[in-house]
């Protein structure tokens, strides 16, 4: 794939008339505003996590690492650690399952084409579109009707269905970029389908699948509706615990948790950017 290089020369080439300058300026301003709006809340959260005040107030009166120290202390924050562990376990299981199921489905859809494939694609994407809160309530009713006990496994299954669309989208985009002759070539050379997938196709779509898996993982970690309705005492989940901390105990550690999550996810993002050019995967 040729590297796209569109740079300032295009602007110069377009000819900077007065109207053009104005338009470019306006667009630039809007873009800047956009960036500001995207970053501002994250900055607020991070700054609050260093606050010397015990109240969730912004701007913080002073800065300290106290809340992070508190957070890492297993005696005072043990219950947060448990909730975080649960969320990570569920997110790992759900994203692995979702990746496997959605990649297979994406392959099926890409190879079939036609109306049936498009309908299937739309159907598989519906969990992304339907209201999480409605689904959460439906899940609760369903689980109650079946008299199933609460468990992390159940929550993981609920999450899987809800986050699969992320992988479906990125894996599908990756597969669509593949040269169709690849499939024919491996077929005609006598390779089994599984071999072809494992050695030829998967390495090529791995970046796209990984990008989707990352989005799915993060989405599961942050999922509130399913965890809210299906969670319970023994299956305490991080976002629910954080909600309680924010509203009931007004605990500033919740900002520290969020800070840690941002830093962790940011690091993973950078790593993925190094490894697979994550940025390019998302913009495929």
């Amino acid at each position: 794939m040729a590297e796209r290089v569109i740079g300032p020369p295009v602007l110069v080439g377009i000819g900077l008339g007065a109207a053009d300058l104005l338009l470019a300026g306006l667009l630039g301003l809007l873009a800047l505003l956009s960036l500001l709006i995207l970053i501002a809340p994250v900055v607020v959260v991070l700054l609050t996590s260093f606050s010397t005040s015990a109240a969730l107030r912004f701007p913080p009166p002073g800065l300290t690492l106290h809340w992070y120290a508190e957070l890492l202390n297993p005696v005072s924050s043990g219950f947060i650690h448990v909730a975080a562990l649960h969320s990570v376990i569920v997110a790992t299981i759900a994203s692995c399952l979702a990746t496997a199921l959605a990649t297979a489905a994406a392959l099926a859809i890409a190879r079939s084409g036609g109306r049936a494939a498009r309908i299937a694609d739309n159907l598989f994407m519906t969990p992304l579109i339907l209201p999480g809160i409605a689904f959460g309530l439906a899940a609760l009713m369903f689980v109650a009707w079946l008299r199933l006990p609460n468990s992390l496994a159940l929550i993981a299954l609920g999450h899987t269905v809800v986050i699969a669309p992320f992988v479906l989208r990125t894996a599908g985009a990756s597969i669509a970029q593949l040269d169709p002759t690849l499939f024919e070539a491996s077929d005609s050379l006598g390779a089994s389908r599984w071999f072809a997938f494992r050695r030829v196709i998967f390495p090529l779509i791995r970046p796209g699948v990984a990008a989707g898996a990352f989005l799915a993982f993060v989405s599961s970690l942050d999922n509130v509706p399913v965890s809210l309705f299906l969670g319970s005492a023994r299956t305490d989940m991080l976002p629910i615990r954080m909600w309680g901390m924010m509203e009931s105990t007004l605990d500033v550690r919740v900002a520290a948790v969020s800070g840690l999550l941002v830093v962790f996810a940011f690091l993973v993002l950078l790593l993925m950017e190094r490894a697979i050019g994550f940025a390019r995967q998302l913009a495929q």
Partner: protein, 338 residues
Amino acid sequence: MMLRRRALLACSLAAPALLTRRASAAGNVTAAIYPGPWEEAYRAIVAPALKSDAGIDVAFEPLFAVDEIAKVRAARGNPPFDVMVLDPGPRASGIDFELYEPFDGAKLKNASKVPTGLIDKYGAAVAAQVVGIAYNPKKVAKPSGWPDLFKPDFVTHLGLTGLQTTFGTMCIIEIAKAFGGSDTDIEPAFAAIKKALPQVAAVASPAALPGLFQQGQVDLMYINTQTVTTLKSRGVDVEFVVPDTGASAFVTTMHITKGSQHVPEAYAYIDAVLATPIQDKLANKPYYLTPVNKDVDPGADVPMKSVDEIGKFVTYDWQKINLQRAKWIDRFNKEVAK
């Protein structure tokens, strides 16, 4: 290869255990508990005491009262927890929906420590809550009663909340009474609220109010002493005011869920909660949970010397109120909607 396979086997055996933990052994009880100070307090004080005195492990499920009722109803006879902790409104709902095991106060060793009338065939009171007005003394003058909230100097700082919670319902009834209504006719409250709407600082869910107070969006609200103590402990400027018409109080009760498989353990748990040393620790810093045990001092912020005085506070007929609550909640929505 061998090592890897064995590791895999070990993982796959551990996974189901990790994924489907459930209390089914004897000496276990699962209790619903209010999130926040309640949960922290009970984990720190009640759980260890129960374990060392009776050898019972307690698992806590943090839920608000209304959510407990919803979950038990959804679970249809196979309840996710053995003990519920409820405020009067949801308690009355639980009675209507028949969600409790019949409660026998005689089974509690500490029953005599609790004022008469606070243990009945549905459950036992475990804490008291006093409800009134909270304000930020640095930003607002001290209000003397409910009508003050709607005066021009105060209303721009006021945070309103609806009838989803017990304290919200009580406060709106008190506002109604201050303007000529009663506990069955709260029209005057709606009239006052409607007039105040263009100027109020915020209208929010009960759980969101403390956060808005912290952030300075509201400086005046109706709330319970529990929240005031929590805010104070976080360094927020807040004071509690007993309205001139009197403070309202209610008791929080514990009930054994119908269909529970751990009834004896549930009684032991409730008994532990009512024990004098436990109630004393819960009443002190940093939890400040108002006790029902007659031998324990309620604490400085609570406007009563001992819980015997709870009879002096304004009380309500919750079964009568519950009949109207759904309608009132609906009405509040409609009144405050822009």
